[in-house]
């Protein structure tokens, strides 16, 4: 019952994911950003990217724990919206902040560990974004799923990026804790346990049929 009622709201993922961008645009146009507005734009594209990434790996556990099969279909939009914010974040860093001075940018990437892991997370995210369509899934077959397991490296890298750039580590540690719990819920032993608990006789394998997006 709860399944059906929640599924009706799944479309909200689109307006909600775009809301931070809309608010940022409004605040920029109305001059509500701080005097260090490049910093604001950097933060307000980075945080949504991280939130959406963490949410994208929450979908499968939501199915595992609560049996919300519809949540699995949200992985694609959440991942792609995250990629949108990551691109804007990177564009802010390279173009707005560093004026496309590639020498200076390369120095920063090599010197600052938080930029290094952030760049790594971005580079790993690119192939996932490029293959988030049915044609790529067909072409890659079994490898598609293997490729998309990269998200379990990307999210910890993104959390590490946030942790290493923060002067107060606590928010990043919360993201880290959430990521840790979500990764634990991927463990086969826990998945089976939850599955058995929720619906005796239900098979974890059934989820596999839902991966098509």
């Amino acid at each position: 019952m709860i399944n059906i009622s929640l599924k009706r709201f799944a479309w909200l993922v689109h307006p909600l994911a775009l809301l931070p961008l809309a608010l940022l645009a409004v605040d920029t146009a109305l001059d509500n950003l701080s005097v260090n507005f490049i910093q604001d734009i950097t933060e307000r594209t980075g945080i949504p990217a991280l939130v959406l990434l963490v949410l994208s790996i929450a979908c499968t556990p939501l199915n595992t724990v609560f049996g919300w099969k519809w949540a699995v279909a949200l992985r694609k939009p959440l991942g792609l919206y995250a990629f949108l914010y990551v691109c804007l974040h990177l564009l802010t860093f390279t173009a707005l902040d560093y004026g496309l001075d590639w020498g200076a940018i390369a120095t920063e990437v090599g010197e600052k560990r938080y930029i290094l892991v952030g760049t790594a997370a971005f580079l790993l995210l690119v192939p996932l974004a490029l293959t988030s369509n049915k044609a790529a899934m067909r072409r890659l077959g079994k490898n598609w799923k293997r490729l998309h397991l990269l998200v379990y490296a990307i999210v910890p890298l993104a959390v590490l990026h946030y942790l290493w750039l923060s002067k107060d580590p606590r928010p990043a540690l919360l993201f880290g804790a959430a990521t840790g719990v979500l990764l634990l819920l991927r463990l086969p032993v826990l998945r089976r346990a939850f599955s058995a608990l929720r619906k005796p006789g239900a098979s974890v394998d059934r989820q596999k049929t839902d991966t098509a997006m």
């Binding site: 961008l21 940022l24 645009a25 920029t28 146009a29 001059d31 950003l33 701080s34 005097v35 260090n36 507005f37 490049i38 910093q39 734009i41 594209t45 949108l84 691109c87 804007l88 564009l91 802010t92 173009a95 707005l96 902040d97 560093y98 004026g99 496309l100 001075d101 200076a104 120095t107 920063e108 010197e111 600052k112 560990r113 938080y114 290493w164 750039l165 002067k167 107060d168 606590r170």
Partner: protein, 326 residues
Amino acid sequence: MNARRRTWPQIAASEITPEHIYRSRRQFLRAAGASIGAGLLVACAPSDGSSAAPTPAADATSRLPYGVGTVDELGKAANSFEQITTYNNYYEFSTGKEEVHTLASGFKTEPWTVAVDGLVGKPQSFDIDDLRTMFDQEERVYRLRCVEGWSMVIPWQGFALSKLLKAVEPSAAAKFVRFESVSRPEEMPGQNDIFSFQWPYVEALRLDEAMNDLALVVTGLYGKPLPAQNGAPLRLALPWKYGFKSAKAIVKITLTAEQPATFWTTANAAEYGFYGNVNPDVDHPRWSQRSERRIGELSRQRTLMFNGYESSVAALYQGMDLAVNY
């Protein structure tokens, strides 16, 4: 030493604040912000990332009447009163730079006394009102470089720290000066954060650094009394050092023989050294020290050794390895 750098003609407060310049800057920012917003929405790279930058500073400078102290000695326009008073670090209130302005609004700066003690011939307690009149007040336009990679140009008023120190007659054994900031958790929410730092805020200088002419005790900003969020009623301005060295809301100054432990060396010695000199060659794990973002400008600029005050302070550090003594 260049006298122009430090001392400006005494002028009326009303002459100091060219409000039209703040307004034109805010308009520039808004226009820039709006175009950036539009650029983001269509996900295209703003091509004016670096080329648009010189306009606000250049405009403001050219419009300034000669002699008004709102450019620094490099010709860079001072930041607006609004920029200076709405964006700064003050951990006693918050780790956020935009929150300080609001959180500090109820902070009581009167009455206030500053005790000067330790290895001095004449330990004394000064009332803030006396300090404002005891020494010649000067206007100094200083660059402020935050360790976080942003910077401002700020017209401070105050008096040379050396004058205060001479008044208490440092003894021969005195080698360091320790500055202690106020502890008032009931008015300063940041001091209630039990997981973060050891309060009160403490900063320190070598005595010869403190006696340098550039070291300023600040009591005013833009010809007005120093606002609470900027460290009222009494703070330091040490323009060749990162901002965190310039302690705010000082209640106690102690001369010592040993190098004092400071707030930041205690909290994170790997990232913050005792000296905190602006140095583009000494890296920080989170922030670029090679370049900086001048508030109100679009493109980054190179960070200068000792924040551009090398001729005044380099002699203090002769023979020292600044990569070790950061």
